[in-house]
Subunit: 163 residues, 2 copies
């Protein structure tokens, strides 16, 4: 049983623990691979509207996501989120729980739609979750992500109307 | 005959002269409608890789565009540009000249593709130019732009592979 709550400042050390390896391998997000904990904190918490953590039944934090406007001002009614699941907690539906939570939360925060700009096409687990949660594949961007192991791979734009 | 050159600091006053009304009407870009000249300067020049101006045969500046990475790091090989044409110079092909120039310039700067994230679907002149210059319509984002006069309108994602 996975539950989701707002991230608190003293959760950061644990979140960084599973975020750091994801950043270092450069396979899923366009983050600087040498990003520090402080820089990641600024990106995930300070530059967003809200950040959350997912906990398993034992109270261990196993994932985190943020929500923020995808564009400024006249595009700010569309939400954007980023999600991370701890490597040892994968395959247990944590991303799906966070995805559903974020859709509810986005509506509460007044957003009218949600958009993902750069879902790496080789990240099959991610594609599966967004399709399952009713996102539309807007289209594919050829070679838009420089995957550290595979080189230039396609990325997908996903969108879901909320209202 | 329209020519394009790098923007110089003393061009800003003229660029702001035709940029300001475009920002104030809120019909084409997700910029804050109350943006000041200094904020626009930061967005158009300081936060980008390069900015340019288009001049007519008389040496009058009639347009401007910027080029920058569309995403950080592992997505930074895809360029993004924003273009503006002075209202009294529209219908004379200035956007097409700047568009072609930007494609050449993007290749010179090492970009592998160019992407526009939020082309407002009611901006027909813009859609026409990007199709003419060989951009692919990746897809349409329902209601993604809050047009000041028309309310929520669709926006388009365009992409062109350069290499």
């Amino acid at each position: 049983m996975t539950t989701v709550r707002r991230l608190q400042e003293n959760d950061w050390q644990r979140v960084w623990q599973f975020m750091e390896p994801v950043i270092r391998v450069g396979q899923t997000y366009p983050f600087a691979m040498d990003m520090t904990s402080d820089e990641a904190h600024a990106m995930w918490i300070e530059a967003t509207e809200c950040a959350y953590v997912a906990e398993d039944a034992a109270g261990q934090i196993v994932g985190s996501y943020y929500i923020k406007p995808n564009q400024p001002t006249l595009g700010a009614h569309v939400a954007n989120c980023g999600y991370l699941v701890a490597e040892d907690a994968r395959g247990r539906g944590v991303a799906t729980v966070m995805g559903k939570h974020s859709l509810t939360e986005a509506v509460k925060l007044g957003y009218r739609a949600m958009q993902f700009n750069l879902v790496v096409a080789t990240n099959e687990a991610s594609l599966r979750v967004w399709k399952k949660l009713g996102f539309d594949l807007v289209g594919t961007l050829p070679g838009a992500f420089n995957h550290k192991d595979l080189g230039y791979v396609d990325a997908c734009v996903f969108y879901k109307v909320l209202v």
